[in-house]
Symmetry: C2
Subunit: 389 residues, 2 copies
Amino acid sequence: MRVLILGIDGYIGWPLALREITKGNTVAGVDSFFTRKRVKEVNSDSVTPIPSFPERLKRLKEKTGKTINFYRGDASDPKFIFDVIKKEKPEAIVHLAEQRSAPYSMLGLKQATDTMVKNIVSTLNLIYAVKEYVPDAHILKLGTMGEYGTPNVDIPEGFFEVEYNGRKDFLPFPKQAGSWYHWTKVHDSNNLMFANRVWKTRITDVMQGVVYGTRTKEIDETGLFTRFDIDEVWGTALNRFCSQAVIGVPLTPYGKGGQTRGFLSLEDSITCLDLALSNPPDHGEYRVFNQFDEHYSVMQLARMVKEVYERDFHEKAEIRSVPNPRVEAEEHYYNPAHVKLAELGYRRSRELQEETSIILKDLSSFKDRIENLKGVIYPRTFWKESPLN
Amino acid sequence: MRVLILGIDGYIGWPLALREITKGNTVAGVDSFFTRKRVKEVNSDSVTPIPSFPERLKRLKEKTGKTINFYRGDASDPKFIFDVIKKEKPEAIVHLAEQRSAPYSMLGLKQATDTMVKNIVSTLNLIYAVKEYVPDAHILKLGTMGEYGTPNVDIPEGFFEVEYNGRKDFLPFPKQAGSWYHWTKVHDSNNLMFANRVWKTRITDVMQGVVYGTRTKEIDETGLFTRFDIDEVWGTALNRFCSQAVIGVPLTPYGKGGQTRGFLSLEDSITCLDLALSNPPDHGEYRVFNQFDEHYSVMQLARMVKEVYERDFHEKAEIRSVPNPRVEAEEHYYNPAHVKLAELGYRRSRELQEETSIILKDLSSFKDRIENLKGVIYPRTFWKESPLN
């Protein structure tokens, strides 16, 4: 299979490329290095040292003998993306090339607009490029479980049966996202659903949970690490807690920590995306996967990290809540469905505690690098502020 | 009250300005003349002859003694819109400054992107400008009944009680729009709902039906007509049927004509917007109005126009379906609620037949201008095509 990965230099993009190339698929990739640049702008860095992309390709060649056709450019540039798709004629395109940070999108109007425009336009470009050059290709689009928000009812996988005033219909589940970033993913989902309706484009729209972890099978085999972010803008909860434990500073859930979300390990994320690629939607099908392994509250995860750290390292870890920069419910009902990937064969690769133990071990060899990021870990991007800039 | 109208040169904007100024409100306005320009580009024109905007203001001054602070510029330009709002400090802002044509948005990727970006960014700019300079101001935003699509259940006003797997919540009603243009309005609604959640912005989000008519009370009094579009890109159903009858060509519903939509007259649209302005939402409230008078199928309207024309003009009118350029259900259930504006005192000003009779009479004095538009009336913008351009 010819797979094109947009955003191949990212946390998910790179290990997905390793997986697909190891399986014998032909992989091409696109990246603008937007994340590298923006992470630097907030004085942060990946905890795992990652080489430049050309260097990544060189090492990949040394380790596996495989090559990747790489195109540097921005998926929101229509001409660029058309040229790539015309040339590569991919059978599947994984779209990971969007601005992926909720705090970044709330830094101010400039970043809100940048996120809104770039994310939406990149998906529009992709829709038109596929329709024109590879109408039967499978678009695998990364969305987020955060599109749903935290309704007081169960969350289905995309659609649900509505009974209202005595009549029934099968409708898209209402979305209630919590940041401009999350809303761009809702807008994308809506635009993809419409493209499918008009042009019968084959689409998998992935509502992914929060991903944690440093490793996949192929990272184990090649040593070619992916990036790992922990700062307040680009990092995420569990990865951040592990880093805090390793350098002996308090783990910092936001507010009460009752915020409950779907989580999954990097290995499981890659496995799910690969399952979606290996089992494409029918011709003309738009399908939605809720892609996470289990849901946990942020406080549960902090306590679990503390426990595993204290067990493995024989040192104390502390939990200390910080004021919540976001506008979100800190205690709520949460019960999202996730059966479709299990039906395709998805099984958890490791238990949460075991994965956490591996992350902590990996991170303990990057202590100095984490120490350097101390100043950018704590929340400074407050939703209510979001200035004009 | 100080009212700022974004899109003051448009079909709704101009008569709303006349209404507000006549009521003694202070009116300021913004327009980029985007619609005038784009209408010309498809070799079309307003059936009613409308003077340049400076000339409009001059005549307004002569007829009423009143003036309007006018700013020429694009609402998607943040600096421009900030300056206007900072200077005018409006108590209410009516946002009509969006690309408003579904066919235009489907002309190709360029127009899809243009519509998506301009519409979304203008609303984002407005949200931030209000939050910064006039946080208690009322944003009255024009959306469309087309946001809902045609679900097989009743359509509430924005939100509904969901019972799912034995639990209940009050959620936004799922949207299923039918063009990129309609989806931009959904995206705007979602973004406004989020702005209200984070910054407590006071918002009325108007889901408006299709507007028909040539007149309002103030147009009667001043003779200062608003524009009137009938071409395939910028025109709408009932107005187009009336024009076709007047020049003796067949009335052209698309496909089976069973497409059912909410409709209201221009006079009633202006009355509703004025009711929303006079009865602003509470502090921190986001409210949704379904703004239409009655729902009709396109075929019902074609038959009604035929009947009124034959009665008034003693000549035959013909109905002839043309292939539907859109991707939409041509027969479907449709039952949207519309009680909130009635609760504020909205009553229909005239019966549909009576309004149609007035439109036909007005248009009969512009027969030559309609004859000139013959070549641009029939659909040429097919949803399924929408090229790369």
